[in-house]
């Protein structure tokens, strides 16, 4: 047995890529050992905040284009597992851990309301596992490790969604649906990795990229691409593969919906980007064709069809879920446009949509807490009864539409710029056109909240501060990152440069 090569003593800062993932992962069993829901909640919060600080530190280190590599077990890559942090995944790590740090304070009261006492400790354990899984998917530089973490996060997600069964039994079938679709997705993904391993003999993504460079015509490599795209497409809910998403988001406990909507599909889209630009090269003919003739039409279809379906929904959660499918369309459109601006738009939209949808689903969770459900009929007149909550809805709703001065505007502006750079003026029109649909469904809710009279004797009071403050933190981030784009734009630009730069090895 060969001994591991590295012998230098590592400092705390050098362990950060690992700690960001391992801290939540190892906090989860502690929650079970203590067996107390308050301690579990506290531990989940501390782990999220620690992870968020670590990720922020990493992001600031790599924002200038550096790459941090951490070798698990001291085994050097490509043989050992490597955590490889560059601007792209540091940014996504920061998004996921940041959202979690805001969601956990919100979770306490909402969970107390929606999940029975005995399951609450296990809820936080599952939540931490899901959180750690998503972080791991993003942090690792090893293709098979992506699959392992993907399974960790998916399995705990199925449980989290099924916990909605106490409010509505249909959560069980929703979780089962997602289990089937998610397993198919993960299987396709691992088959794709199998093909890649067969062709290149390595699982390290950076090493794969080097070895794949002159294998463009190799059928195995091409088949691997197809499998990876379909597998991750299922996880990311790219339009025709989105069927699990509306049901899962509608019936999951509100907190789970907030967290998943803001992070889970984002991690999947990050993996898609990583494979499309870092492992495979966009200059490959089969990839260019796939992006232009399959991904872009699907993106446009998602933008219109899913928005149109959203307009006709009667349940606020389901409406927002369909809107998420439409927003995924914008993200993959940015990938498909195949230029730096498009990719920047896509990455910044990951962040902007994450905070926007997070805020919107938090508002929905507040309505569910006071009204028992998020059916549109139940929301009439809540604008007067719950003014603070409804205010957050209006602000984040504006960001969802993409009104200037909000986060959503920045990503759509970049997307339009990218389309114009390509000379695709019609695409710019389509992007603006689909935003009009967003106006319709956001306005529909605003109208119900503010301009419909509440039924007689039907009152609702504001939700507790522990829920209002996180909601407003996210809503104000929507505004702040719409006005001051320094951090988000710099990070997204660095990420896009890094991803596309790595793709032009030849």
């Amino acid at each position: 047995m060969a001994t591991p090569a590295s012998s230098a003593v590592l400092t705390f800062t050098e362990h950060l890529p690992l700690l960001a993932v391992a801290v939540p992962l190892l906090t989860a069993p502690f929650c079970v050992l203590f067996g107390n829901r308050n301690i579990a909640w506290l531990l989940a919060g501390l782990a999220s905040i620690a992870s968020c600080l670590f990720s922020l530190h990493l992001l600031l280190q790599v924002i200038d284009g550096d790459i941090i590599s951490y070798h698990l077990g001291g085994w050097a890559p490509p043989l050992g597992i490597e955590y490889r942090i560059d601007a792209a995944n540091a940014f996504v790590l920061f998004l996921i851990s940041g959202i979690s740090s805001i969601v956990i304070p919100y979770a306490r009261r909402s969970i107390a309301h929606e999940i029975r006492l005995a399951s609450q400790t296990l809820f936080y354990c599952c939540y931490l596992l899901c959180f750690a899984g998503l972080l791991g998917v993003v942090a690792t530089g090893d293709a098979f490790n992506v699959f392992v973490f993907l399974e960790i996060s998916s399995l705990s997600t199925y449980v989290l969604i099924a916990m909605g069964a106490e409010r509505d039994k249909r959560a069980l079938t929703a979780a089962y649906d997602y289990l089937i679709m998610g397993t198919i997705g993960a299987t396709f993904f691992v088959i794709g990795i199998g093909f890649l391993y067969m062709a290149t003999g390595t699982l390290n993504m950076a090493d794969m990229a080097v070895r794949i460079a002159d294998l463009e015509g190799n059928r195995t490599v091409q088949a691997g691409f197809a499998f990876v795209v379909v597998g991750m497409g299922l996880k990311a809910a790219i339009y025709p593969m989105h069927l699990w998403l509306p049901r899962a988001y509608t019936f999951a406990p509100s907190v789970v919906t907030v967290f998943l909507a803001a992070t889970a599909t984002k991690a999947a889209i990050y993996v898609l980007m990583r494979f499309m630009f870092s492992v495979y090269q966009p200059s490959f003919m089969f990839e260019t064709h796939t992006l232009t003739w399959i991904i872009i039409p699907l993106a446009v279809l998602a933008m219109f069809a899913a928005s149109l379906i959203a307009v006709f929904q009667q349940d606020l959660k389901r409406l927002l879920a369909y809107s998420s499918v439409a927003q995924v369309g914008y993200m993959i459109l940015g990938i498909g446009l195949l230029n730096v601006t498009g990719l920047t738009a896509s990455i910044i939209h990951l962040f902007n949509h994450g905070i926007t949808k997070g805020a919107l689903f938090m508002v929905t969770g507040a309505f569910v807490m006071r009204k028992g459900s998020s059916f549109c009929d139940n929301l009439a007149g809540l604008g007067k009864q719950m003014p603070i909550t409804s205010g957050a809805f209006v602000i984040s709703g504006l960001s969802l539409i993409g009104v200037p001065g909000t986060a959503g505007f920045i990503s759509k502006w970049l997307l339009v710029t990218s389309a114009l750079e390509k000379g695709w003026w019609w695409m710019a029109i389509l992007i603006v056109g689909s935003s009009l649909l967003a106006i319709i469904y956001v306005w529909k809710i605003v109208e119900i909240l503010y301009f419909k009279e509440a039924p007689e004797g039907n009152t609702a009071k504001e939700v507790p501060y522990s829920m209002l403050i996180p909601m407003w933190v996210l809503a104000s981030v929507c505004i702040i990152s719409g006005i001051d784009t320094d951090l988000t734009y710099a990070a997204a630009k660095a990420a896009a440069d890094g991803l596309l730069g790595a793709g032009v090895v030849r």
Partner: protein, 145 residues
């Protein structure tokens, strides 16, 4: 199962060897085929067999449900904790060389600790799954609605 005398006698005879064999597979995992996963499943198989033949109530007295999920968490922690130990001496996560003066010994101790964690977690999770299915209330018949 009270009237199945043969099953009961055979089970009593066979459960201890199964447990012993599980421990053999566990601790010889680094020399011969085996390791935590296999050992955990074999160990759980003995408990599940006991439960099927002598009843859920009796096996739950051996291994109560609250202990099962805590042991599962403990197994994961043992694995992760082994990795964390190496952080404190400035080595990478899960670098077992840090566990002893000689890297080769360290690798050896490390894999034994990690496999033990895996074994405990796998065995208890298998038992937990069995408990979950076996404790389900009987299905409601169509006439009982």
């Amino acid at each position: 199962m009270r009237h199945h005398l043969i099953l009961r006698v055979i089970t009593k005879l066979i459960v201890p060897p199964i447990l012993l064999f599980a421990l053999y597979v566990q601790f010889h995992g680094d020399y011969s085929p085996g390791g935590g996963f296999q050992a955990g499943v074999i160990f759980a198989a003995a408990l599940i067999l006991f439960g099927i033949v002598f009843g859920l109530r009796k096996v739950k007295r051996v291994l109560p449900p609250w202990l099962v999920i805590r042991l599962a968490a403990f197994g994961v922690l043992l694995y992760g904790g082994t990795g964390v130990v190496s952080l404190f001496v400035g080595k990478a996560f899960l670098d077992y060389s840090a566990l002893a003066a000689y890297p080769k010994d360290g690798q050896h101790y490390g894999i034994i600790a990690v496999e033990l964690g895996v074994g405990i977690a796998v065995a208890t999770v298998m038992v937990a799954i069995y408990y979950a299915f076996a404790s389900r209330p009987p299905r409601i018949n169509d006439e009982d609605w």
